[in-house]
């Protein structure tokens, strides 16, 4: 990335700080509510990971789409969800976005905020958000879709099918892998035999960045670059954010299986505290500004918490509402390109493949893992995570095969059959 691409204005800095703080206070409030038995079911925490949800979502525009996982309340807040919706969801109240039919961050908004509701099954959002991106391109909307997956979730079939389809389609999907070292009780090293989950991207021929997930500016500027690439038709982009889950899997889990030193190590790298120090040193954040921010947050939290606590549970008969939709769709297709482009006669094409090469190759001249996405080589972002990882790298760059002449060229040709008309530039 160029220096310009790394620039963050003081206004943006304060926004990033404010949203991380809001996220943390919303979740702390829910922890208190949980201890008072006011949360229905489990409660997940994104403590220590706030920079990832906030920094990535902050790189989007209003027209773009997100789909949250369990630790992405920060993303919802940046997208414009009010804390009251998060409280009422977790408290199963009638006033919640799903009226009490589902909990946690399982809610969406097709019309205004552009949020797709997740389901619990890990990985399933990846193909869905690929589809949203494909439809956005088809309609000419030039939107980007963003979703997250944990280190554990990268082992699901849906992750692989989804990322492959996204890459094959060049879908404008930003996929953020939150590598928080643990999947429930299992460490990353027992989930996958590779060091960097971003390395998965090169097998699918898409770009990847590795970033320090506790450095909100690094996350934001990397995501902004990923969004730019997607908007330019060079998606999808994978971002692996290295971080640490600072609580158990959920409230019920004391996480005794995590070595104490690991918590100690990451406690020094709290994303909010370290950012606060940085902004104070830069003169962007003063005691006065901090107080204003906190007062504003606490006022909203107080009002929304009270609203949620005073909200009724849904009437039992609500369970019987229909599972089928009668009436018009909530959103009709919003065409941002001439429909004539996709209707006959202009849509008509010659129905044949344009396959380049005959599949010829020279086995001894090929190195494995040579998939490479078209276009410019991706920029790499140095991660400043602390666990003993090697220096961060652009996996695509690592994967570039040796330039050893004809063998490589023909192998590359054989591995990438081209379609004559993909229907887009």
């Amino acid at each position: 990335m160029t220096e310009a691409a790394k620039t963050v204005t003081p206004e943006q800095q304060l926004d990033l700080y404010r949203y991380m703080l809001l996220d943390r206070i919303v979740e702390e409030t829910m922890t208190k509510l949980f201890r008072q038995n006011k949360i229905v079911g489990g409660l997940y925490s994104s403590l220590g990971q706030e920079a990832i949800s906030v920094g990535t979502t902050y790189a989007l525009e209003q027209r773009d789409w997100i789909a949250p996982m369990i630790r992405n309340i920060g993303g919802l807040l940046v997208k414009g969800v009010r804390p009251r919706d998060i409280f009422t969801q977790h408290m199963a109240r009638y006033t919640s976005p799903t009226l009490g039919k589902d909990g946690t961050s399982h809610f969406g908004d097709l019309k205004n905020l552009h949020i797709v509701s997740p389901i619990s099954m890990l990985g399933d959002l990846i193909p869905v958000m690929t589809g949203v991106a494909m439809a956005g391109r088809y309609l000419g909307q030039n939107i980007v879709t963003l979703t997250w997956i944990g280190d554990g979730g990268t082992s699901t079939g849906a992750f692989h099918e989804g990322l492959n389809l996204a890459a094959q389609q060049r879908a404008s999907l930003v996929l953020v892998i939150e590598n928080n070292q643990w999947a429930y009780s299992t460490p990353v090293s027992r989930q996958v035999p590779i060091e960097h989950l971003a390395d998965r991207a090169k097998a699918y021929g898409c770009r990847a960045f590795i970033v320090d997930g506790n450095d909100v500016e690094a996350v934001f500027t990397t995501a902004r670059e990923a969004v730019r690439l997607c908007r330019a038709g060079q998606g999808p982009v994978v971002i692996e954010a290295k971080t640490m889950r600072m609580r158990g899997h959920a409230q019920h889990d004391p996480a005794e299986y995590v070595p104490k030193e690991m918590f100690d190590y990451w406690k020094q790298r709290d994303p909010i505290e370290s950012y606060e120090r940085k902004l104070v040193a830069a003169g962007v954040l003063t005691g006065k500004i901090k107080k204003e921010i906190l007062d504003a947050i606490n006022a909203v939290i107080e009002e929304d918490r009270a609203f949620a606590e005073n909200s009724p549970f849904p009437p039992p008969e609500l369970a019987e509402t229909p599972v089928y939709h009668e009436g018009p769709l909530p959103i009709e297709p919003q065409w941002k390109r001439p429909v004539a482009e996709v209707t006959p006669p202009r849509s008509s094409v010659k129905s044949e493949w344009n396959v380049s090469g005959d599949g010829d190759f020279q086995a001894d001249a090929i190195e494995p893992a040579t998939s490479k996405s078209p276009g410019d080589a991706a920029a790499s972002v140095g991660a400043r995570h602390g666990v003993p990882h090697k220096s961060a790298a652009d996996p695509l760059k690592n994967a570039t095969p040796k330039r050893n002449g004809a063998g490589r060229a023909s192998a590359k040709r054989a591995s990438k059959p081209a379609v004559r008309s993909r229907g887009r530039k």
């Binding site: 097709l110 509701s117 958000m129 494909m134 439809a135 079939g157 769709l329 209707t343 094409v349 008309s421």
Partner: protein, 324 residues
Amino acid sequence: MAQTTLLEAIRQALFEEMERDPAVVCIGEDIGVYGGAFKVTAGLLERFGWERVIDTPISETAIIGAACGMSYLGLRPVCELQFVDFIACCFNQLTNFVAKSFYLWGAPVPMVVRAPSGGGVHGGPFHSQNPEMYFAHTPGLKVVYPSTPYDAKGLMKSAIRDNNPVLFFEHKALYRRIKDEIPESEYTVPLGKAAMRREGRDLTIATYAAMTHTSLEAAAELAKEGIEVEVLDLRTIQPLDTDAILDSVKKTNRLLIVHEDTRFGGVAGEIAAVVFENAFDDLDAPVRRVTSLDTPVPYSPPLEERFLPQVYDIVAAARELARY
């Protein structure tokens, strides 16, 4: 009016709906240049282009997931699964993501999943199944299973225009075997309405898909013995036209349910329960079922013949019921 196969009828429906509405796109494996494993989508790519006829990797989960995502922006994707047996690979996307979307957070999923299904062509255990009940059992999904070209075309149009996810089963043994005269003018067939294929006074056979034709053959034989059978073609499993079933049972007082799906948990059990709950007093005999065996679909022709309900199975069961 021309004689049209069931396969061609479905192709016409896709063609006409894509012509009518640019929100309709097709997505699946080998559906573009090749025109689909059974050629149902032949010619669509040529007319509607690469953006609307989307060849995918072999990734059923990704196909269903992507279609669901497309539908959130108002598109009406029609997915093809190469054989319905592969629907097991995207069970989660269909039953957990697609089916629950509207109820849980008010996001309808107007998509169609069409797939060749059914046995009788010696496709073996992985290319012959009838997995409709997994999905009919899932609240939020609709399940259509036509038996005639006229219905297939009209139901496909309704399915595409429906604002809910519809699974559309296409019996591969009927694709080219069954021909109809199809009107040139526009028509649709509503989901959730059964069709009376043959009237009779002695007993009702409730059935659907390929077994409609097997049942009609049986009815013709039974007529020679003086047993007049009524054959009701359900056409859609979800929603189920219980009114039509009950009306017929009230008239004939005897019910035989025939399906190609396996027995345990097949729709016959559901229909029997509906009849017991609502028309017990109208029954002059126990409800009977003729179904496939509770085994995988075996490959070798004599095994598959034994597995599938045959005309003589239906005749025997109907005879017994009529005499009861």
